[in-house]
Symmetry: C2
Subunit: 133 residues, 2 copies
């Protein structure tokens, strides 16, 4: 069911510093910051040859990343995203084994594609996003 | 400097359950468990088309994963590993910008290749492994 690792998301407290670190110190291909107000984040894509690291920083009120940074002031790994072919089938399959999905229906994610998030409690403590590729 | 994302490591409290979840529920290609006593872990490789998820479970006394699971009983994301061409050059470069390296010299990692670990404090709260590819 799952295909590629689409991205690993890292919540960062200081976005310009994190961008400088990945771009200048580690020599990675780093995008311009992209504001996604509907998701409460500013995102920077670190494009590695085989996958993407997404640096997430809070944007606006009630950002989920702001809450994460309250618990983890220095930042940290926020979630992983696996690709699936059919988001509705994936949702049913995970729910059939008792994995909680954090929305009643798939939502449109940061890449304009349908996504769901799976509860970390059933996923080895990891917030897992599934994205229809 | 950094190349591919070599793997994402997830510490798991119940290895057989995590294996069953990735293999049977999510349909991924999952290896047999591999004991690595010198690293204090049992590892299972979840081979995705573009990278690997490593499920880590404590093995023996003083396992670093046991300490992680004490703090995070349900498991969680443990580290990410980026590939580099020259581990000594990478070590010098990171140290030159004040990033602490968790060993005085590169060590041989779980894949038989030289690795270093970078302190999460300087890496946005993320434990980062660099592996000479």
């Amino acid at each position: 069911m799952i295909g590629k690792l689409n991205h690993v998301a890292i919540a960062v407290a200081d976005l310009p510093a994190a961008v400088a670190q990945y771009r200048d110190l580690m020599g990675a291909d780093v995008s311009e910051p992209l504001d996604l107000p509907e998701h409460g984040v500013t995102t920077v894509f670190v494009r590695l040859p085989n996958t993407t690291i997404e640096l997430l920083h809070p944007l606006g009120e009630n950002s989920p990343i702001a809450k994460f940074l309250q618990r983890n002031p220095g930042g940290g790994m926020h979630h992983v995203c696996y690709e699936v072919e059919d988001i509705h089938a994936a949702m049913k399959r995970m729910q059939s084994e008792g994995v909680r999905v954090l929305s009643a229906e798939p939502k449109i994610g940061a890449h304009g594609k349908p996504v769901i998030f799976l509860h970390p409690k059933e996923m080895n403590g990891v917030l897992v996003e599934l994205e229809q590729a």
